[in-house]
């Protein structure tokens, strides 16, 4: 990957992380942990992979994205602000009455392709979008991002069976494998492992990557494009809370916002990192 592209992506992902902290702090609640683990792949998708058009947001030939792990909405809103679908000022309205930025994504928000948040439902919708693309002979692609705890939901596997049976090679399912869910590690709660072998058994092309490596993503998404006749699952190893030292790999940061002191520390770390990247 070109160094300047890499640096640009790193800067954008860092800004997304700042928005995650800003949004959840101002809301006084929300889900920073899983938003931070997903910030890098969201950045990659929207700035180096997908064709989306903020000036024509419902363009028929656009690529689609479904945030099946809808609680990572704060990170997606950070992306939408950088893309110009929403304004930067709106980030601070997250979860407030009357805001376009709902606690979980709504299709009525500019740039959002599907309402999600009730876990397990996003892959089905993404499969429907991919199927529509096949029926209409369009070349758009569809991406869905799932949590690793989320794949405990049975509907995910109904959808996986369907996507493979209908040969939806225009669909990429991404699993954010940060290893933590609300009640503990995914192994302790109800282990979904081995995730890769399960998707393989369901008929997917499976690629394992480091979910914080843009170079890995570049290779994986390129390989997914080349795959014919079956959907691709990209299983990303990630760190929950990535980018904020005291949140990294700590289960309790799944669903709570920083207090004032923690907010200052978190924003300080991220702004320092951004300054380094911009230097």
């Amino acid at each position: 990957m070109d160094k300047s592209v890499l640096k640009e992506l790193e800067k954008r992902a860092c800004k997304v992380r700042i928005d995650v902290i800003e949004g959840t702090f101002n809301a006084g609640c929300g889900h920073p942990g899983g938003s931070l683990s997903a910030a890098d792949v969201l950045t990659y998708l929207y700035f180096n992979e997908m064709r989306v058009y903020p000036s024509n947001e419902r363009a028929e030939n656009r690529d689609r994205f479904v945030l099946s792990k809808g609680h990572a909405a704060p990170a997606l809103y950070g992306i939408l602000a950088q893309k110009g679908f929403i304004s930067q000022e709106e980030i601070k309205t997250l979860r407030k009455v009357g805001s376009t930025l709902q606690g979980h994504p709504s299709i009525k928000t500019p740039g959002i392709d599907m309402s999600t948040g009730s876990l397990g439902q996003g892959v089905s919708a993404a499969a429907g979008m991919a199927l529509a693309g096949k029926l209409d002979k369009k070349d758009y692609r569809v991406y869905a991002l799932l949590g690793d705890g989320e794949i405990e939901e049975g509907e995910v596997w109904e959808a996986a069976m369907f996507a493979a049976a209908k040969k939806l090679d225009n669909l990429v399912v991404i699993v954010d494998n940060n290893n933590l869910q609300i009640d503990g590690t995914v192994e302790e709660v109800n282990s979904p492992y081995p995730i890769d072998e399960k998707f393989e058994a369901f008929g997917f092309n499976v690629i394992n990557i480091d979910g914080h490596s843009f170079e890995d993503m570049e290779k994986a998404f390129a390989a997914a494009r080349e795959e014919k006749g079956r959907p691709t699952a990209i299983i990303m190893k990630t760190v929950k809370g990535k980018g904020v030292s005291f949140m990294e790999d700590v289960c309790s940061w799944h669903g709570k916002a920083t207090d004032a002191e923690q907010y200052i520390t978190a924003i300080g770390e991220l702004k320092l990192r951004l300054a380094e990247l911009e230097a």
């Binding site: 599907m114 439902q121 089905s124 199927l131 529509a132 693309g133 029926l135 109904e158």
Partner: protein, 313 residues
């Protein structure tokens, strides 16, 4: 007297799909029950646009939603028990909340499923669907109304639930019948009691009029096929005219037509009301007509309750 034509409302679904098949934006989905729901009749006309999701109703609803975001009008079918019961939360969060253009046409609703028994007799679907914002709920009274309602649902932009039955029931309407979402129809007029019925109970209500004549009671019969949005004006006007109301439905008396009418009357025109329906019990196996009689879903039971309603005035 001409012989009464008997057809199941699901046959009206097949007839409507045949007309809709030439529209390239129409997709029909089923969950391995296309032969029974009649959705599979679409396959003859547009095989590439008939999608069998297999026995996985939750996923089917999500896929239907995804297709709808891409401009498709999607018909998704299964038995009412599974389309509404199994997949309720998918219908709520993936279809009703984002207001997507999906028509859930569920057959084998109610106790008239018959021999399959209680696990397959859905008496709760109207209650569940009517609580959802954005959802239109339609329960046709015969095959003609079923076809007309489904064609209208296809024209309407947004989520619609259409309740269909397995049992062949008498045809009430003729081909000139015009269906309009949200409009009830007066099928017989009378002064002493209004019988508000839906689905296969509309024909029973009409039959009960004859029985009531022997008691010197003249009954108005109103067909409410759109349970939501409900025709408040017609309900209130009828209650004012006759002073008492009986509701009749092949559904639990909790949450269905009876409840919807009670909501309207208690707020706008309180009059004596008696609800005829499945009385908060599960069904059982047996021939459909025998079950309908046993569970009080008959002209005789409507007439009996109409007499009580009149006595309460």
């Amino acid at each position: 007297m001409a012989e009464v034509i008997k057809k199941a409302t699901r046959e009206g679904y097949a007839a409507a799909l045949e007309e809709l098949a030439s529209n390239p934006d129409i997709i029909v989905m089923d969950a391995d029950l296309g032969a029974a729901t009649k959705s599979a009749s679409f396959k003859k006309f547009a095989p590439e646009r008939f999608i069998d999701a297999g026995i996985a109703e939750a996923n089917m609803m999500g896929v239907a939603a995804g297709l709808a975001t891409c401009g498709k009008t999607v018909f998704a079918s299964s038995f009412a028990m599974f389309a509404v019961g199994r997949a309720f939360e998918q219908v709520r969060n993936s279809i009703a909340y984002p207001e997507l253009n999906v028509k859930i046409c569920a057959s084998h609703a109610g106790i008239s499923v018959g021999e399959d028994g209680a696990t397959h007799q859905c008496n709760e679907d109207i209650a569940l669907m009517r609580t959802l914002p954005n959802m239109v709920v339609i329960n046709p009274a015969d095959v003609i109304e079923a076809k007309a309602a489904i064609l209208e649902a296809a024209r309407y932009n947004g989520p619609v639930y259409v309740r269909l039955g397995r049992l062949a029931i008498p045809q009430i309407f003729n081909d000139s019948y015009r269906f309009k979402i949200g409009k009830g129809t007066v099928l017989a007029d009378g002064d002493d009691v209004t019988i508000i019925a839906t689905g296969l109970m509309v024909n029973e209500a009409l039959k009960s009029c004859e029985l009531l004549k022997n008691h010197g009671i003249s009954a108005r019969v109103v067909n409410i096929s759109t349970i939501k949005p409900i025709d408040k004006a017609l309900i209130v006007e009828s209650a004012k005219k006759t002073g008492c109301v009986v509701t009749a439905e092949e559904h639990s008396i909790i949450g269905g037509l009876g409840s919807a009418v009670a909501e309207v009357l208690s707020e706008e025109c309180p009059v004596p009301l008696v609800r005829v329906g499945v009385n908060d019990v599960f069904g059982e196996s047996g021939p459909a007509w025998e079950l309908l009689t046993k569970y009080g879903l008959s002209a005789e039971n409507i007439a009996k309750n109409a007499v009580s309603a009149v006595a309460k005035k």
